[in-house]
Amino acid sequence: MGNNKIKKLPLVIFKQSVFKQQSQWFALEASFVQGQGRTEFLAADALLLPFSQLLTSKLIPKPLPINNTKHWLALAGGQLGGVSGDKSWLLGIEGEAELVVLPKEQIHPLPPLLLACRTCPALQAVAWYQQRLVSLIDARVLLTLAPPLLASLIPDVNRVEL
């Protein structure tokens, strides 16, 4: 990492509906995102987990409808661990993601009160971008949240055929 202070941060930013609220802006640190694409070109057996489902810490037994999921992001390290190896999963999002670079002044840590009471453990910080509030999501935490949810989509995560 060195002693160079970070002045800007590349982020992958995308819009997503959250429950009954209007669309919100979210972002992932760009270094954790390997690629993106449209769901219509995905293989039928691809494992796609909607981002909206990961926003709540409570595991929902029945997956939320994914009708609005039109795009996917591939996260670095997004593999399902287990006997059968490295079957990867994709994060489903509603719209196309965009790469932006924000100066550090526009990025803020969560106030201590919010950090202590957040219901989504992946919520890491917030940023201002084009006069909008952007929720910065920790991709590493998403990777830990995903496997139990994926287990509800497939009978046994550890027996996924490649």
Binding site: T56, P111, P112, L114, L115, C117, T119, L133
Partner: protein, 187 residues
């Protein structure tokens, strides 16, 4: 009148002079309070716990992944501050129930920017939405009364004192206890 004899006026003035000298200047300690209304009841925080009063119509940005009692965040001169509601903590209904933030209620409301004890090395602070700011006043410390035994059980952890202000009963809340209890409720 005989010269040198004290007149009645002299006596009267002397008495007045003596009276004024007998006035004792008592420097009674005063306490600054931020008095506000929430669900038609009056509450107050100690002035030391409130950094700033922000207009209620300041834009609050919804932040996903938060408990329902977090209204969102505001931008205060470039810094991010949370805005929370105290209704569920105090078992109150308010103008902002069911997320119906009607414009009239918002226009009359205020956001008190409160500061409490340290949490993980940083001062606990947040905006607190109140229905109406009534006043910021200095009151004699002797006006503050201890809370009665009949105080509702759920208020006991964070009620410091009671007082009567402009004929209204006011409950003085401990902002540290309010933050701590609010956080505990979110678990």
């Amino acid at each position: 009148m005989i010269q040198g004899q004290e007149s009645q006026l002299d006596q009267l003035l002397a008495e007045r002079d003596n009276n004024s000298q007998t006035i004792i200047n008592v420097d009674e300690p005063v306490i600054k309070l931020v008095v506000f209304k929430l669900a038609a009841q009056c509450f107050a925080f100690l002035g030391t716990g409130i950094i700033e009063v922000i207009s209620g119509d300041e834009k609050v940005y919804f932040l996903p992944g938060m408990p329902a009692s977090v209204e969102g965040v505001i931008n205060v001169r470039g810094d991010i501050e949370s805005v929370i509601s105290l209704q569920s903590l105090l078992n109150l209904s308010s103008a902002f129930d069911n997320n119906t933030l009607n414009s009239t209620a918002v226009a009359h409301s205020s956001i008190l920017l409160g500061r409490g004890q340290l949490l993980k090395g940083k001062p606990m602070r947040s905006g607190l939405r109140v229905d109406q700011l009534i006043d910021v006043v200095d009151v004699p410390a002797s006006d503050l009364q201890q809370p009665p035994d009949a105080l509702p059980e759920h208020w006991r952890p964070f009620v410091l004192n009671l007082l009567v202000f402009n004929g209204l009963p006011v409950t003085v809340l401990d902002i540290d206890a309010v933050f701590a209890t609010w956080l505990k409720e979110q678990d």
